[in-house]
Structure formats: structure tokens, C-alpha cells
């Protein structure tokens, strides 16, 4: 490579004689050039080394993909949504109760809520599903209401309530104190002020983070697989896994993955938009 010796900055004192220096602009050009070269080399290598035919046979086989229709939507996606929405609704209610307990003036309530939140935020979601499987053993005669749906929803609700509690608590605390004071000064009781004034505002504040939590719950709903569900109760991941085994082909897993993205990407985008709107509204 040739370098012009006058490319250095015109700094009066900084130049060490005998060591040619690049200008910052020149350095940037070189660095970018190196990065593109590496990228192109990697792409070329992939194109030659990978067995595209084999890949397509295993991951994108059209007739196998067709086999998954329409069940991937009518059964699997539908169930994923049932588990997720059910878990989300129940978890939100539980989370609200826990958040109010954490802010309660009754100390034992605060302790109970704190212990619950710390435990269930600290455990892997999978462990909770495995525990639910063993519930009937621990409590003989006990049945989770709602059967398979009930078990899946309960597991997701336990996981999400702990996270929702923390989100909602932050939301409740973000409502200015003057709001509750204004409500109380109008003669509202503490609970009336909460219901009519504080909670509606807190809910608005937490909508963006809650949308993100919904997305992560949607992904966690794949853990229903470990409840040993079958037939009409399978959700996306289980569905993909089963079909992949019977066809000895990974295509169903790709189909299922795309189906997840169909839901999660728009939701993530929505959450970003809501967040931006809220940031602007402040």
C-alpha cells in the first residue's frame, strides 16, 4: 500500500518523525474496507461449503410444510394464544394483587408479596411447569380446574404474576402522589381512589413494558410441552416437534418458528411505538 506522507493532521507538535501517520478519515476508510472484505469472504465460503440442497431438504421441504397446514394455525397457534392470553390475564390480576400487597401498610402483606415475587422471578419457568405436574401427587385428589388448559394457564400465570407485580408496582408508584390526595380530598376512600384514579393511570403507564412481557410469555408458553399435552391441546412448539419427529424433517420447526415471529415481531414493534408515544407525551 502506498501512503502519502502528508496525510497526517497538521498538528504542530504531535508528529513523530519517521513514523507515518494516517489521518482519522483514512483510518476509517481502511477499517471499513477490512470489514467488507471479511464479510464477502465469509459469504463466498458459505455459498461453496454449505450443502444447500441438503439444507433445503431438511429445513424447507415444501410438501412437509404443507402437511402442517392448516393445523399449525387452527390448532397450534390457537392453543398458544389460549395459553398465553389465559396466563396473561390471570397473571395480571395476580400481579395487581401482589403489587397492592407490596405497597400495603400491613407489614405481613408486604413480606408475603416480596417472598412470592423473589421466589418465582428467581426460578426457571420450566421448573414451575414440572412442579405443576407433581401437584396431584403432593395434594391427593387435587385437580387444576380446566384440565390441560388450566395447568398450562396456571403455570404461565405463576410465572407472569411475579413479573407483572414488579411492573405494576413501579406503575402505581409513578402516579404522582397529588392524584391520590386530590381524590381523597374529594371524599373518596382509599380503595375508591385506587380504583377510580390511581390504577387507571398506572395501567396506562405500564402498557408498553407489559406488551413486552406478553411477548416473553408467548415464548414461555412453549413450556406447556413438558406437561405432556397431546391432541387438540398442543401448542406451537409441541406441534412442530411432533410433526418433525414423524416426518424426520426439521421443516415443521421452521414453520412454527415463522408462526411465532408472525405474532412476536408486530407486538414488539407495537410496544416500541407505545413507548415512544408515551415518552413524547410526558
Amino acid at each position: 500500500m502506498t501512503q502519502s506522507t502528508t496525510a497526517g493532521p497538521a498538528g504542530p507538535a504531535g508528529h513523530v518523525p519517521g513514523r507515518p501517520r494516517f489521518s482519522p478519515r483514512k483510518k476509517q476508510q481502511i477499517s471499513r474496507g477490512v470489514q467488507y472484505t471479511v464479510l464477502i469472504a465469509a459469504v463466498v465460503a458459505l455459498a461453496f461449503l454449505v450443502n444447500w440442497q441438503g439444507l433445503a431438504q431438511n429445513f424447507a421441504k415444501m410438501d412437509v410444510a404443507e402437511q402442517s397446514l392448516p393445523d399449525v394455525f387452527t390448532i397450534a397457534l390457537r392453543n398458544t394464544i389460549i395459553y398465553t392470553v389465559g396466563g396473561f390475564v390471570l397473571g395480571s390480576l395476580g400481579g395487581l394483587v401482589l403489587a397492592l400487597m407490596r405497597l400495603s401498610s400491613v407489614r405481613p402483606y408486604r413480606w408475603i408479596a416480596t417472598v412470592y415475587i423473589e421466589i418465582f422471578r428467581g426460578l426457571p419457568a420450566l421448573l414451575i411447569f414440572l412442579l405443576i405436574l407433581f401437584l396431584p401427587l403432593a395434594l391427593p385428589g387435587f385437580q387444576v380446574p380446566g384440565g390441560t388448559y388450566g395447568q398450562g394457564i396456571l403455570g404461565l400465570a405463576i410465572v407472569s404474576s411475579a413479573y407483572m407485580a414488579e411492573t405494576l408496582r413501579a406503575g402505581l408508584q409513578a402516579v404522582p402522589k397529588g392524584q391520590a390526595e386530590a381524590a381523597r380530598s374529594l371524599g373518596m376512600s382509599h380503595s375508591r381512589a385506587m380504583i377510580s384514579v390511581v390504577i387507571p393511570q398506572a395501567v396506562r403507564i405500564v402498557i408498553p413494558p407489559t406488551t413486552n412481557q406478553f411477548v416473553s410469555l408467548l415464548k414461555d408458553s412453549s413450556l406447556v410441552l413438558f406437561l405432556g399435552v397431546s391432541g387438540e391441546y398442543v401448542e406451537l412448539t409441541k406441534f412442530g416437534n411432533d410433526l418433525a419427529s414423524t416426518t424426520s424433517n426439521a421443516t415443521p420447526i421452521m414453520v412454527v418458528g415463522l408462526t411465532y415471529l408472525l405474532v412476536t415481531i408486530p407486538l414488539g414493534y407495537l410496544a416500541g411505538r407505545l413507548e415512544a408515544r408515551q415518552a413524547k407525551g410526558r
Binding site: 381524590a183 374529594l186 373518596m188
Partner: protein
């Protein structure tokens, strides 16, 4: 007839900070009493003790003959008779102006929707923001928001109105509208306890002015006396600073300067 407000030996501490150090005073029915004093002297705390937004550490607060500091009193019921207007308006931002004025009528007084709406429109008209019924609070100017807040309190038919520096957060050109509403209220015979820095308003409207400093009442009496001819050095220093802000470059601090 019992006093509209009677406060006896009121003390309030926040932790080790004693903010009110034994305050006694009364407000009679139909009177307007203005509370003035330097920042940090405990004016807001006093007002908030009157409707028990702050729990007094010691002493007695009675409103219309009902002792609010009695632990067995139904404080929610007692507060219905007290309207409060805050420096920062505290309108409910998630509700329209009309719903702001209706919600407590419906939820607390159990008025029907139609009646609550009628009372709300009537009071919004009284404070001059009738045309803003469907707007949301954050779409209004500060002066309009404060007048909605006044209408919201009035809709509960209070026997007494508490104002905590209602014009301090407003742009100067919006102060007049709010003061005009308050002046009108006073003329109509509303009992009012007003914390304010508006000396002109206090002089003109107040039946009595109370000067507070350091958690005690230093001086009280008719406005012409307390504002026009103060007896105490601390009152004089304070008034000089408020009325002649050009010389107030030492800030609005509470410390009485060595005169």
C-alpha cells in the same frame, strides 16, 4: 354556632423536623382567611392538617363542630364538606374535564349520572370553562386547569374551601382569571382558607390575614393591620421582600435576616 374551622395547639413533625409548633386559630362561617408567610414556614402543612391529608402529631382540628382528629371520626365523610384546591391543580389526566367534575359526585355522593352532569356543567360555567367540558386536562392552560379544579371541588357542595397557593404555578397573565373566580366565591359567602402570596388579593378579599413563620403564627388580624401596618419585625421583613422583590436578591428563604 360552632366555628367553621377551629384549630387548637396544632403540632406536626416530620421525623425530627417540627414544622408546626403549636398553632391556634379559628375561621368563622362566611369568612375568608388568608395565610401568608415565607417558604417553608408550614403554611401548606397547616392547610393539609385541616383536611387530614397530614395527620397532626398533636392538637385538635374541628370543622363545623366535628372533631376530625378524633380517631373514630369517618374522615371520608368529613372531607366531603371540605373542598381543596392544590398549587399543581391535580386534575385527573385520564378523565375529560366533565368527568373530572362528575366522578366524585357519582362515586362519593352517589348522585345519578344526569344530576352529576348537570351540577358539573353548572359549576364549570360558574368558573368560565363551560366550553371545555370534553377536553382533557393537559389540553388546557394552567389557568383553565385551576378553574376546573375549583369547579370540581365546588361540585361537592363544600361548606369550606381550602386553597394552597392556587396561582403560584400560573403564568402571570393567567393569575387574574383564577383570582376573579375566588373573589366571586368570597362574595357569594363561601368560607375560605387561602394560602397565598397575592398580597393584593389578601388585602381586598380577606376578612383576616394570618402571618406564619417558623411553624407558629406570628401575627394575625384584619388585612389593613397585618399587611398595611404590621406590628412585628418578621412580618415587616417578609412583606418588604414580597412587595418589593427588587430587593429580594437574597432569595425567598425562610431565615429572618439580621435586621
Amino acid at each position: 354556632m360552632p366555628h367553621a374551622v377551629q384549630i387548637e395547639n396544632l403540632h406536626k413533625s416530620f421525623g425530627s423536623l417540627e414544622v408546626l409548633k403549636g398553632v391556634d386559630f379559628t375561621v368563622d362561617e362566611g369568612q375568608v382567611v388568608c395565610v401568608i408567610g415565607p417558604s417553608g414556614s408550614g403554611k401548606s402543612t397547616l392547610l393539609r392538617c385541616v383536611n387530614l391529608l397530614e395527620q397532626p402529631t398533636q392538637g385538635k382540628v374541628s370543622v363545623g363542630g366535628v372533631e376530625l382528629t378524633d380517631p373514630d371520626v369517618d374522615i371520608d365523610a368529613a372531607r366531603r364538606r371540605l373542598g381543596m384546591v392544590f398549587q399543581s391543580f391535580n386534575l385527573f389526566p385520564h378523565l375529560s374535564v366533565l368527568r373530572n367534575v362528575m366522578i366524585a359526585q357519582q362515586r362519593v355522593l352517589k348522585r345519578g349520572r344526569a344530576e352529576a352532569e348537570r351540577v358539573a356543567r353548572e359549576n364549570l360555567g360558574k368558573v368560565g370553562v363551560a366550553e371545555k367540558c370534553d377536553a382533557f386536562p393537559l389540553q388546557l392552560s394552567g389557568g383553565q386547569q385551576q378553574r376546573v379544579a375549583i369547579a370540581r371541588a365546588l361540585a361537592m357542595d363544600p361548606a369550606l374551601m381550602l386553597f394552597d397557593e392556587p396561582t403560584s404555578a400560573l403564568d402571570p397573565e393567567l393569575v387574574g382569571d383564577v383570582l376573579a373566580v375566588m373573589r366571586k366565591l368570597a362574595q357569594d359567602g363561601m368560607t375560605m382558607l387561602v394560602v397565598t402570596h397575592e398580597m393584593g388579593f389578601a388585602r381586598e378579599v380577606a376578612d383576616r390575614v394570618v402571618f406564619m413563620d417558623g411553624g407558629v403564627i406570628v401575627e394575625e388580624g384584619p388585612p389593613d393591620q397585618v399587611i398595611g401596618n404590621p406590628q412585628h419585625e418578621r412580618t415587616r421583613t417578609f412583606l418588604k421582600r414580597v412587595l418589593d422583590p427588587g430587593h429580594a436578591d437574597d432569595g425567598a428563604g425562610a431565615a429572618p435576616p439580621a435586621a
